[in-house]
Each structure stands twice: as structure tokens, then as C-alpha cells.
Symmetry: C2
Subunit: 247 residues, 2 copies
Amino acid sequence: MSEPTTPVACLLLIGNELLSGRTQDQNLAFAGQRLAALGIPLAEARVIADDTATIVRHVNDCRQQFDYVFTTGGIGPTHDDITAAAVARAFDRELERNPAAEQVLLEFYGDKVNAARLKMAEMPVGAVPIDNPLSGAPGFQIENVFVLAGIPSVMQAMFDALAERLDRGAPILSLTLTTNCREGELAAGLGEIQQQFPAVSIGSYPFFETDRYGVNLVLRGTRQDDLETVAAATEALIASLAGDCQR
Amino acid sequence: MSEPTTPVACLLLIGNELLSGRTQDQNLAFAGQRLAALGIPLAEARVIADDTATIVRHVNDCRQQFDYVFTTGGIGPTHDDITAAAVARAFDRELERNPAAEQVLLEFYGDKVNAARLKMAEMPVGAVPIDNPLSGAPGFQIENVFVLAGIPSVMQAMFDALAERLDRGAPILSLTLTTNCREGELAAGLGEIQQQFPAVSIGSYPFFETDRYGVNLVLRGTRQDDLETVAAATEALIASLAGDCQR
């Protein structure tokens, strides 16, 4: 029996405020965790400016390279919200007022609806809205591209609303060992373990804190028994180094 | 007199732990802020996996497109630290033990030096080390590419050590106005102001908190008098909407 193929994802974080450092991104870590749990590894993310040509180029590059593309940011009512129009251009489709999205906005805003707010119903022809239970204005899907809000709480709610549309792979499991061995002491043995067990990815992440230093060793793979085998080999390595370092 | 050209930068955040969501990135916001202050806008960032072919492809793509490229991550002693070798391959140069970097490591580790730790002195031929006052092992520069550590405190110390090597543009200034108007009320007038003053970039960033909502309007440009002119126009817009919202 052949292994099922694993779909892979790309995240496009759209917004000048991320590149200027004004806003600390929170969407990358959320998407990475949720996609790993769905068995859809996040293979790449790009942070790009609110610029039409830039968005068009990256959407087209990524939607051809990856199974799924998620964009965040730039779908509000103001002049700097250009993501929907740019995605329409990337797909060479007209931008239209999506009837279902318009209905949502009319109900959400009531007599406070205006032209700027109705702009948030504009989507490429053929797009399917994504529910926004927090602030009304929906995101949308077009082919393998999912266009989400930038505000983390809204982005997260939209992600929950779209997750059922995704084809899933085997969930990626992880197991973390922490040691106060230094990386330089572990490196040789750890490299040998990695060579012996290629199905598990071993990441080595040192930390320096004021009262403590050491390394987090993160084992990732799709089979729990593989993780446990590699964990046992790694524990044995750490024990063998006990003269220099200990758990 | 022609305006001086503005150099632009790209950041390559290298690390599986960022894409899996295990580690919350802090280097993007730091680099964005510091580069803006140096007059070198961060135009793009990419988060990529610890994979040689992937690193080679992105380093080569970015070093041709941008004046400066900064990489973070993957320069430690373990098997998953492959950035230096990948950057050498991107430049089609041999990896060699840099004599100056080797000397630093011999002094830093003393009798605890070993093969894994000396791996951190391996750099492409022609690379110039970047001081690491925190944990010994240096980063390096090769042409317009600066290879830095991933741990935020170490990355920041390396950035401080290299900043004097960069050609600077006009520092990017910013001015933030906060209002509890909603974006949908501001959008029409704000779009007109943006059209009238193209030298200032106006970003509109709504926030929803439990006890408070509103919008941060962030004005960015290189001339303080431009920012103040646009701020006055925006204040006037907000005042004109006072029936619907107020500061």
C-alpha cells in the first residue's frame, strides 16, 4: 500500500505593518500549529507589502508551487486594503460584489452600511465566501487560495470555518526532550541518530536564560513509535555524556 | 538635486521551528524596526525550511532582487545547522574554515573545543565574520548577504555589530493617530487624503479589544513636515465625523 500524499501549504502574510516592525505577527505560529495538526505541513511563509504587483506575483508563484495558499491581511474597507482586487488580478478574473457576502454585510451593519463597507463584499468571480463570526466581513476561497483577515482573532475564526474544506494528510506529531547538555557536546551523536532515523526530523534549539541554559531537542514525524524509538536513542546519548552534562 | 536612492532589504528566516509554530518569531519585528530607522526599508521576508535546495534557491533569488539580504538561523554546531554550507553553494564557493572565526572559537571554548564547535568557523571563501559578543560563534557577510544567528538576543547583537557596514537611506519616520471611529466611517475620506499626499503612506489598523475598539492610523514617510500635514488633514477628517465617532 503506498503512503497517501501529504499536501503542503504556503502562508502569505500581507501588510506593511509587519515589515515595518510596528505589528508583531501572530498568524504564522497559529497557522503552522494548526496546519501540522491537520497533516498539512506549512512549507513556507512570505511577508509582503500592500502593493498590487507584489501580491499578484507572490500569489501566482505560490499557488502553483503549493497545494494550499493562505493569505492574511488587506481585506478591510480602507484604501490600503487591496488584497481581494490583487487576488482577482492574479487569477485574471473580474472583481464582483459577491451576493452572499453582500447579504452578510447588509445584515451585520444594518442602517450603518455604506459604500466602503460594501467594498468588503467584492471578490473575484467564482470565489466562495469564508464565514467571519467575529466581525461580519467574510474571507473567501478561490481554487487553492484562501483569503483571510489579518487581525489574529478574526483570522483564527476564519481558519476554523474553512478547515473542513481541506484535504488532510497524516497529523505531524512531536516530542520534545530538554537537556542542559550544550549543542556542541550533543552534535556528533545527534547527527548519527538523525542519519539512522530519517523518518523523524530532529531539531536542536539551544536556549540561554539568565539562570539556565540548555537545548530543546524536538522530534517530529507522523508515527508515534518512530518518535519513541528516536527519543530512547537520544536519551541514551544524553546519559552517555553525563560527565559533561545531565538532564 | 536628485533624491538619494533608498536601499531595500529582504529577510530570510530559516528554521523548521518557525514553520511548525513551535517557536514564535521575534526577528522580523526587530529587523523591520531597526532597518526602517537606518533608512533601509524591509521590503520582504520569507520563512523557509532547513533544507539545502530551498535555502540556495531563496538566497539566490533574494540577493539579486534586493540591496541587502539578512538570514537568521541554522549556524550552530548540529546536523540541522546547514545555512553556512547552503549559502556557500548559492554563491558557488567552497566552504572553508575561516581563520579569524577559528581563532574566536578556540579562545571562546578553550579546552572544550571540538569538531562540532569548530564547524561554526566554516564559511564560504571570501566571507567576512560578524562579531557575536554573546555566544562566541560569529555570523558572516558575503557580498550583500549577512548570515546571522536565529536566537533573538544573539541575532540582535550581531545586527548591532554589522550595522556600520550598511549604506543608509533617509530614516523612515512614523506618526500614529488613534481614533474610535470605525474603518468603514473613515474609509472614504482617508482614501482622498492618501491620494492627495502620495509621499506619506497611510496605514489603517483596526483593533478590537474587550472594552475598546477603534483604529490606529499610521503615517509613514521620510519628511516630518509631510507627516504633520497629513496628520492635520486626518484630524480634520476625524473631527468632521464627530457625530458618528470621536477621538
